[in-house]
Symmetry: C5
Subunit: 269 residues, 5 copies
């Protein structure tokens, strides 16, 4: 499970429920079937309407993915891989990479390298890879945009619940003892709406969006790497280019000693 | 009828109205002619102002389309179609596709293939198809933007109804028995405004937007396919390119066995 | 007067005011000089500040235009015109169009055709026409963005009015009889702010925006048509290209019978 | 002083304060030191945090500029200037413009003409001028985005003031006489927050944004004019191109009589 | 520490807390453990969920950076540096710059100059530098977007706290003495939510965004400078181009006397 989700969710729940307890509130009052029905079922219904059915079916999986995440793309390793391949390709030709294809765990990179070995025209290779990257972005956007919709709808459905609750209270102003608890109950729906939106839907949408941006960044590394190898760039140049995508801390530290190498390479070039 | 709309709408109504009933509310209190007039007619009026008349007339049809949807474009089938055509065109020439035109059910794809057979210049063909795709996007955007407008206006018109209702109540504070029910009635307008916005207009706008994005994605598949066939690409390359647009689950599974084929093709190429 | 504006505005007023009357409210209570001064003058002042003076002067005209609209561009007719001109230009040369210039009612199209006849370089012709189209977009955007600003400011100025009214009420809690009517009066400003924003400013802004988008679409038809004629495209291609901009219902129905023609043209080409 | 600012501000103040007076409110109640401190100092503090120090120092000047404006760029005159220069340059060569440089009052245009006379390569000239235009846009955006931030923050800080005020009131519910005036005072902060946001910050931000867009439009005229002169365009074409940027009312009316001229020019060309 | 942050934060705190004190409020009432737990922990939890873990760890550093800032890039000095290098490179060749590399303090500029001396192809050099600039933008965007999320979530979590507090109050309407203080306490959460959003998160997000835009502007200066030197531009042109990025006040004042020089250069060119 993605550790940030665990930590973040625990912190939010402890803070919000704990704060209420410290204040003297009764957290049991927050457990309320009607509020749950109104907000959760209402929000689910609305987000299901907003989607074609096939995407609705994939929704829980996308939410779980936001919860549990996956191993992040190790951009640093990918850079190393492409530098090594650039070196090999330069010395022994592109076909020499045939044996390495199996060792590439990432499907996107493997597809690209295979197409390159097959002798696909660079223009066409870039086009195929960019279509694939764009289609991924399109699929991921569909997921986080549902969560954003849920995050936008959920608090107003909470208000809807409060309005309906207050309407009941208002019709029975002649029973003063019921007013207070009635209003309190009416507010539970607002609590559910605001809580789920701000602690679940919006942060998870944001996480999926961030993951999607990071992935697009990673895919760009792969595409640039393929183009660089195919055009026979110097491995040093390949590294220089691809490391531009990395945070400074992820970059290889050999740069210092590499100064000499690069000098040699410059003479050779 | 689009199943997601049925399921979603039922879920939302059961959740929201059912939650109110469980809470002890009286759903009959939600049936209220003035609230309906203020919110529904007010929102309709405002959205009609926002449109040229001819588009107003097409509006109900667009909303029904959002409700009932249509058969989704089967992108997977389209890829197969283009791969087959690419194969045929390569062996027998573009004119051999003449007989297949009738079997293409999608109008956009058929127009493109016909133009290609007619020998339209590739540049011009792409331009014509992109004009058509862009015009579709323009038409669809007009539809979902009306629903977005309705979704934005409707809750505030609900507030307007509440304000007018509260004004009546405030003028008669001397009749304490009337205060509670008066406020309750005033709130019905808010209920209508928030309910229609969050359960109807915004989710339906979102659905139309999603459908439009999916369609643009489909149109891109068709345009890429046409370009690929016209430039005489290898059918394997056509598949590689177009499958990039599909979700992994939609892609042909022959890829494994196809490794050998692709090897042969590579020799032949 | 633009019929949609009349219908929409009537519907909204009947719904909102009528709903209030049915509910037992007194619409006369909505006529209130202070509320009018605060909201209407306040919003006008704020939008005047937001504009250079010369644009302020043109504002009422822009709003009237949104109200009354103008005859929509008949894109269908324009396509016919360009197809006819393409045919003539192909047979008799561009100069033969000299006599048709006078019959072009739309200024933009006329300017383009005149420049084309004058032998303006295609690159330059496109550039001149695009500068003109962009400048139109810039001018129209200025208009609808003022209305959007008014729509955003007006409800909060309504709240301002309510706050000031409530402040007066709060200072006189010792006169209980005055409280109710005082609050009711305070709310009128909110009514004006929300009503004008949602029934006037925002829908009208939306209408101007829609009109501007439609016009840009129309201008694109004209520019494409000019380019097509100048490069000597086949009239059938000109039709194919320009009809892409039209809704399917606007397209010429001769397409069926035209199949034969297009066959001939193909042989001739 | 920019007349629109004076008129708009007067109208807004007369409407809002006057409306309150007509309603029987006491405008003196709106003068309130704590409310002023909370909202004005709070908003100032927040916007200062949002900026690097050097830009904070330039802020008051930018606000004054929004208030007082400057003489608008006279795009019409600029078009005339460039048409005249195009004519001269065509007949006597670019160097003949040396004497006119001093008469160009606008710094941006003067720099461009000077560079053109110096024989700067067209590509490079365009690049230099576009860097300058983009840097201007960047500087102006920084100014109006601060005002937008202030406009967004100020009403919520007003709410903050109301919340703090209500908290004081709530702690002294045992002094019923104090409740009304206490709530009234608490609301003053809301008044300040909403008033300054909607009558000052947001309209002024909008004005600076409009001015910036207009200026970019003007800079585009200059750049197009330079390119046109340098490429030796016919003065008639220069006019045709640059007048595309002007509102129809600003365009030269000689067009009618110019029909004959343009005929001659066409023969000469 | 960034002076604007100190001044702005002090001003905001003095204004808001001071205003409350002047009004007769008790600032101690704003110190409230439950409110702090609910809002601060809740917001922290939600923003942690929205991020991959590694970015969560870097968050405090990013916030501190927003607080303390760093020495701004001295764009003026950089222009001088590039003009000097352009002059040297023109007279003695690119390799002559080898000795200057060590004196370039900014890492981005140094990398660029080093690559240029190494004889990297201009196309490739621009590409490498733009990848690096884009990756920086991507990293910085991640930081300010977290703060924007916190600024959006924090006030609604404040409302959540108020709702929970009011629910407790409503359940004990039979103890009238507790109502006032209970409501006051419930509001503290709203205070925390609105205060932190508007005085901390949103202004700091804005500052990081501004800094990022300024940095991108600076990086563009460096890239343009590199391209200009590599293509052997005249130092005068290099200055002309790069000074376009500077505010007028930062530009070299030698321009007047430089008129003569530029005359000479023009003859020499």
């Amino acid at each position: 499970m993605d550790l940030a989700t665990v930590i973040g969710l625990s912190l939010a729940v402890i803070g919000i429920i704990g704060g209420n307890v410290v204040e003297g509130g009764n957290p049991a009052a927050l457990l309320n079937v009607p509020g749950f029905m109104i907000v959760i079922m209402g929000t689910m219904g609305a987000t299901i309407i907003a989607q074609p059915l096939e995407r609705v079916i994939g929704l829980p999986k996308a939410i779980l993915k936001a919860f549990f995440g996956g191993p992040p793309h190790k951009a640093g390793e990918t850079v190393e891989l492409f530098v090594t391949m650039a070196d090999k390709a330069r010395r022994e030709g592109l076909l020499a990479l045939e044996g390495d294809v199996e060792n590439i765990h990432d499907e996107f990179a493997r597809k690209g390298v295979q197409l390159m070995i097959d002798g696909t025209d660079p223009e066409l290779l870039r086009e195929i890879m960019e279509i694939e990257a764009e289609a991924m972005r399109h699929r991921h956007e569909a997921n986080f945009s549902v969560l954003e919709l849920a995050g936008g709808i959920s608090p107003t459905i909470g208000v809807l619940g409060a309005v309906m609750g207050l309407m009941s209270v208002m019709r029975h102003l002649d029973q003063p003892d019921e007013i207070g608890p009635g209003i309190a109950t009416a507010f539970v729906a607002t609590f559910y709406g605001v809580f789920t939106a701000n602690v679940l839907w919006l942060p998870l949408a944001n996480k999926l969006k961030n993951n999607s941006k990071d992935e697009q960044h990673y895919l760009a590394v792969v595409i640039e790497g393929l183009m660089s190898i195919q055009s026979g760039d110097n491995p040093r140049i390949v590294r220089e280019k691809l490391e531009g995508f990395l945070r400074p801390s992820e970059r290889t530290k050999k740069d210092g000693g590499g100064g000499g190498d690069s000098g040699q390479e410059r003479q050779a070039a």
